[in-house]
């Protein structure tokens, strides 16, 4: 097997696995092979694939995992595949073609597959039989947040409030021309301060146990604030209802509402919480507590937008449904489009 065939097989396998690769990536890899890169050994070929196709640690790991999953064929296997006697040349073998053949290997259950045999034999706890079928697909353990960093940046871009602020460095063309028209000569251009994003936002994040599943997604949103060049922003954490706010995710440093209000007066607020939808029970106390507390927050922080990581169809019959109907709040599902809608609310458009 030549490295070229192995590379092509790998490429199509990765594309099926969801790697964002295009034909260009393949042609460039083949060009690199022709240039003598990645031809000396199996490790060398893996290095080439990783440096050309992987952009994150996770992708690096997945490519090396793939090389582990498909070890080089033994001389006997080559013999059965090609119908020839085992090659005696010293040339390095690269990999079996990946594709239909590889499926059998996966179903045979190699070392990386999870061992379900004890469950199938029902020697362990009484798990229902339907749960114990061996999954045909491999698990993708890469985190898939509800919202991508890029989607956050795009949404926050709608939320800019450019105001001229600071030292005068930009030329004001119109004023300069007006000054010249008035005086007839132009000693120096008229300067104005540079535009700066003065938008402000307060982010309230629910860190209760029911939000555990979305921790990664919420962290992406939190990080995006830092990267979006906001004028000022605040992040506070709460548990269930935003009645008591904390500075840390661990709910250890409490912040009085008064001091938070003083710091950010008349600021739009974005709440991230499942609002009781995860437990799927109608918790009337929670509805009431949230209603009172939103009234309180609304004194200083308006408008209130709410992102709910639970799918909208699951809000029915839970506090989320009632909270989303409150006039003081607009609730959206926590995804890219939901954030854009929430940003529109925070800009004062409903």
């Amino acid at each position: 097997m030549t490295p070229q065939v192995a590379l092509e097989g790998l490429f199509f396998y990765l594309v099926r696995e969801g790697f964002p690769l295009g034909i260009r990536d393949l042609t460039q890899a083949l060009e690199a092979l022709r240039g003598g890169f990645g031809t000396s050994s199996r490790e060398n070929l893996m290095w080439l694939c990783q440096s050309l196709w992987a952009r994150t640690e996770e992708e690096h790991r997945r490519i090396s995992l793939l090389f582990e999953m498909f070890p080089p064929p033994t001389p006997e296997e080559i013999a059965t595949l090609t119908g020839n006697s085992p090659e005696s040349s010293g040339g390095e073998t690269f990999s079996k073609p990946l594709g239909p053949q590889s499926k059998d290997r996966a179903s045979q259950g190699d070392t990386t597959a999870i061992d379900f045999t004890s469950a199938e034999n029902r020697t362990g706890l009484g798990i229902p039989a339907s749960v114990t079928t061996v999954p045909s697909e491999r698990f993708v353990l890469a985190p898939k947040p509800l919202i991508s960093q890029r989607a956050c940046a795009v949404a926050w871009r709608r939320f800019r409030r450019p105001l001229r602020f600071g030292p005068k460095v930009d030329v004001d063309i119109e004023e300069t021309i007006a000054a010249k028209a008035q005086d007839g000569f132009l000693p120096e251009p008229v300067l104005v301060p540079r535009r700066d994003n003065r938008a402000r936002v307060v982010l309230l994040i629910d860190v209760g146990p029911s939000m555990m599943a979305w921790r990664h997604s919420v962290a992406v949103l939190g990080d995006s604030l830092r990267e979006s060049q906001f004028g000022t922003y605040g992040v506070y954490y709460f548990h269930e209802t935003p009645a008591r706010l904390f500075e840390k995710e661990t709910l250890t440093v409490p912040v009085s509402l008064r001091s938070a209000f003083e710091r950010f007066s008349k600021t739009p607020v974005l709440v991230v919480s499942e609002a009781g939808a995860a437990r799927a029970t109608l918790d009337k106390q929670r509805i009431e507590a949230t209603r009172v507390c939103l009234g309180q927050l609304g004194l200083a922080w308006r408008p209130v937008a709410w992102l709910n990581p639970m799918t909208a169809s699951r809000w029915r019959g839970t506090p989320a449904q009632y909270i989303s109907c409150l006039p003081s709040v607009s609730m959206f599902p926590f995804n890219a489009y939901g954030l854009v809608q929430a940003v529109d609310v925070m800009r004062g458009r409903r």
């Binding site: 964002p20 060009e31 690199a32 240039g35 050309l52 990267e227």
Partner: protein
Amino acid sequence: MSEPPYTGNATNFYYASPTVAAIVNLAIALKRPLLVEGEPGCGKTKLAYSIAAEKGLPAPTKISVKSTTRAKDLLYTVNSLRRLQDTQIKDATEARFMYPYISLGPLGRAIGSGQRVVLLIDEVDKADIDFPNDLLDVLESFTFQIEDLPPEEDEACQKRHRFGRQVAGNPDFPPIVVITSNREKRLPEAFLRRCLYVRLRFPETLEELRDIVMKNLDPGATNQALLEEAVKTFRKIREASLGSTQKPPTTSELIDWVRILYWQGIRPESLAEKPYLPPFWETLFKTASDLDAYSAVAQSKLA
């Protein structure tokens, strides 16, 4: 092209590991930009200088990106203010045209020169999120259009500046583009896909670390025994500071520290006396909170 490959070790001021050198060669062969990431002070910028030096090219054209940098400014600039001032001069006809006021920016010059140069775009993550995307097309084809120049002035501009509306590089010798990033902001996916990525890691072995320091010091600026001991002590300090400090010391701090030790005439033995708090250890840290955090860690290790 029969250029000798980049080895990473042929210059007298830089040492790149073989893996890094291999990726550099791959980037040059495929004519793709090289995106370099790593801790501050690990030699991202110097990598570009070492490529230029090894390839016998002039020093890299360095573009320091600021938060206000726009991609167009790197290609060309229009001096509107001078044009406005020129309009006030009686009988001056120049201001009727655009071409006298157009000049190429650093990237534009590098492309227009048609010669092989190393182009260093430093700290690309500082700019607006649009910046890398706007550069994508130019960095791929190494051609761009000066849109502000009216087509009818193309010839006049060619005569005056030796470039026309369409600026194209030499396809055989495209600039070697090195882009550095401090990971302050995440770069767009499309941009990452076009670049070859290399992450400069902190040197793993004592020998590598020693070589790097040696290459950065003038001959006679240290002695071997002091250097050996300093590198060993530094490794301990760095390991202890990882996790507790915001910016653990890197190679650039080590080089400065070794310099100071030599100037002050510190004996190698005195470094071993207090392994976690050697003389002038404070110079390895950059903030008050890091100093406090590390000194607490060191005290507990010594106790």
